[in-house]
């Protein structure tokens, strides 16, 4: 289905209404995303994920951010407030619920701002009605989802089940493994989502606490570089600011009623959102260096994972290596668009495919099973959920059991 896009020269359309090299009110220089990441010097910092979100937003020329407290994203949302007070953003306020916040974000995006917000767990589900609306209205809003459990009984701990609900909203869904990914994905996410041929919202997801509250080493580009601001007129739809003539359309019109019924429009509209997500591949591949990362992926034993599960798998592979068991690793960075062709290619020679996940349903395993031949090769797990941790020893044990090897039961 999905044609493999060649990694050619980096082609990203930057905003046309300010010039690269100009300075903003914070004395930062508008800089091309490629220069920020691939030319500027990167300095290591030891930061929590929440601080990393702040550092990314400082360099993104964001117009509006709307905040609402919910663990574990509250710190990040409050820190964005602090940099708003310093002058980095044009607008910032606390909304009254996630449903309202996502509406406020939509209003700001309709009006022509670059918009960023954060949410988590039950907040993501409360906001849910807005996400397909954002996508349908072609609003390139970025929401950072710091995953936590969504079910009753209540849990504030990480669980990626909420990402499953986001998969068919029409948003781009990326999954950060580490604080470094989180930083990179936030900045690059704006650029990809705002391309005129893409122009759909993006959810940059990370695992709560494991990323947000973990202090880790992150390479940052200089603070005096920032992205060019969003250009609302590089838009596949009219901007709702009465700066163009009054084109009579609602940005998401009722074409369903009475005499002007057109279900062909509705169907085509949905197809167009899906198409926009597909088009993002071309822009994402050069910026993220592919939709997946692969390490010894030609091996017969393969782990395919996203988010923190990748980190835990890296450790598990080290442990297995010590015992002479060689396992390859595939890290999926974008869940939407799903790297269908890439996964088909790298799993071609695998005899066993393990998909460790931090959720009870194993949605990533389902996604993989749906697209590869001989999918009985996929072992759905190991799983943890509800906020449990996934020690690398558990992955090791499960792989050995699956291979019929002897294991000593894990002592707790």
């Amino acid at each position: 289905m999905n044609k493999q896009v060649e990694l050619k020269n980096k082609r990203i359309i930057a905003s046309k209404h300010v010039k690269l090299g100009q300075k903003n009110r914070m004395d930062q220089t508008y800089t091309d995303i490629n220069d920020i990441f691939f030319k500027a010097e990167q300095t290591p910092n030891f930061l929590t994920g929440s601080e990393v979100i702040r550092e990314a937003i400082k360099r993104c020329s964001v117009g509006t951010s709307v905040a609402y407290p919910i663990t574990p994203q509250s710190e990040a949302a409050a820190l964005i407030g602090e940099i708003y007070a310093e002058g980095y953003l044009d607008e910032y306020f606390r909304g009254e619920s996630e449903f309202a916040v996502m509406g406020q974000c939509a209003g700001a995006a309709f009006g022509g701002h670059r918009v960023f917000t954060t949410t988590a767990g039950p907040g993501t589900l409360r906001a849910m009605e807005n996400f397909p609306m954002w996508a349908g209205a072609r609003l390139p809003i970025q929401v950072c989802v710091t995953c936590r459990g969504v079910n009753s009984p209540l849990s504030i701990q990480p669980d990626t089940l909420e990402m499953y609900y986001l998969l068919e909203t029409g948003m781009l869904v990326w999954h950060a493994e580490t604080a470094q990914d989180l930083f990179d994905f936030i900045m690059k996410g704006f650029i990809v989502a705002e391309q005129p041929d893409v122009h759909v919202p993006i959810a940059v997801c990370c695992d709560g606490f494991f990323v947000t509250h973990t202090k880790d080493t992150v390479d940052l580009p200089p603070l005096d570089l920032t992205l060019t601001p969003y250009d609302p007129y590089q838009n596949p739809q009219p901007v709702m600011d009465m700066e163009t003539s009054p084109i009579r359309m609602m940005r998401d019109p009722f074409v369903m009623k009475s005499n002007y019924i057109s279900y062909a429009t509705h169907a085509s509209w949905q197809q167009e959102i899906k198409a926009a997500v597909e088009r993002s591949r071309k822009h994402t591949i050069p910026l993220l260096d592919g939709l997946i990362d692969e390490y010894n992926a030609d091996r017969e034993l393969l782990i395919v994972a996203s988010g923190t599960a990748v980190s835990q798998s890296r450790e598990a592979i080290r442990l297995l290596e010590e015992e002479g068991i060689k396992v390859g690793l595939v890290k999926i960075k974008t869940i939407r668009p799903f790297p269908t062709e890439e996964i088909r290619r790298v799993t071609k020679h695998a005899k066993h495919i393990f998909v460790p996940e931090f959720n009870v349903v194993g949605w990533l395993a389902r996604e993989i099973k749906a697209i590869i031949p001989d999918n009985e090769r996929v072992y759905v797990g190991p799983h943890v959920c509800g906020g449990m941790t996934m020690p690398s020893e558990v992955i090791v044990e499960q792989i050995k059991i699956q291979l019929g090897m002897e294991t000593t039961p894990l002592r707790m």
Binding site: S50, F209, T389, E393, R411
Partner: protein
């Protein structure tokens, strides 16, 4: 590749999260790889709070609750007596040849606990951190300093110089903290009108504990993992 996994169990408000961050920051300054993260519920003061610090010679990816620690630090007696920890018993998962440092003036373990730890050749240091904190740091809030000092003294996992640097970084500049931690920071800052005094008192607590830890370690036949 070698790695030391440190698990810290305490009660909300004792600075367990700060302690793990400081150890990780110090290790980072020493040129090692480190990562630290907290684990807590939705409650605040006096509820179980855990934090984890992993220090190693190579890039560390492992995150989340630390199930198989080399070192366990217990910040409060209730972790043991009231089972206020996420794992029970508090030493579950400890690796062979491990180390347990407990903030207590007296032995809190029963015979069975001692036997199980001995079987794994795990050494136990009873370290009266709160007393040291009150004597040198002039506040109970420095208990975490006394604990990381002892940890560094016994394990050599971080240098005093690096701890000093980490302390300056943590309290010397604006720091991201959750609401509760921020309030505690304010309380301790109020106690010490001058920032240098606060840093000095904390450092003194660390150094004295470090000395005591080192002294104890020399008398033990420690086979702890070396990083």
């Amino acid at each position: 590749m070698s790695r030391m996994n440190i698990r810290i169990s305490g009660l909300g408000g004792q600075g367990a999260v700060t302690a793990a961050h400081l150890l990780a920051m110090a290790a980072n300054r020493d040129g090692r790889f480190s990562i630290s993260n907290p684990f807590f519920g939705a409650e605040k003061r006096m509820a179980p709070a855990e934090s984890y610090c992993r220090i190693g010679t190579e890039r560390i990816y492992d995150r989340g609750e630390l199930v198989f620690p080399d070192v366990i630090m217990v910040f409060h007696a209730q972790v043991i007596t009231m089972q206020k920890s996420y794992t029970a018993p508090f030493y579950s998962g400890i690796k062979e040849n491990g180390l347990v440092i407990i903030n207590t003036p007296t032995d809190l373990l029963n015979k069975e606990d001692h036997q199980r730890l001995e079987d794994l050749n795990v050494k136990v240091l009873n370290h009266d951190a709160t007393k040291l904190a009150l004597e040198i740091g002039k506040t109970e809030l420095s208990t975490n300093m006394a604990m990381i000092g002892a940890c560094a003294g016994v394990t050599n996992i971080v240098t005093i110089k690096a701890l000093d640097g980490a302390l300056q970084e943590r309290f010397g500049k604006k720091y991201v903290a959750s609401g509760g931690t921020a309030t505690l920071d304010e309380a301790i800052k109020k106690k010490y009108a001058k920032k240098e005094q606060l840093l000095q008192a904390n450092m003194d607590t660390i150094i004295e504990s470090y000395r005591l830890g080192k002294e104890w370690a020399e008398k033990q036949d420690l086979k702890l993992v070396e990083v």
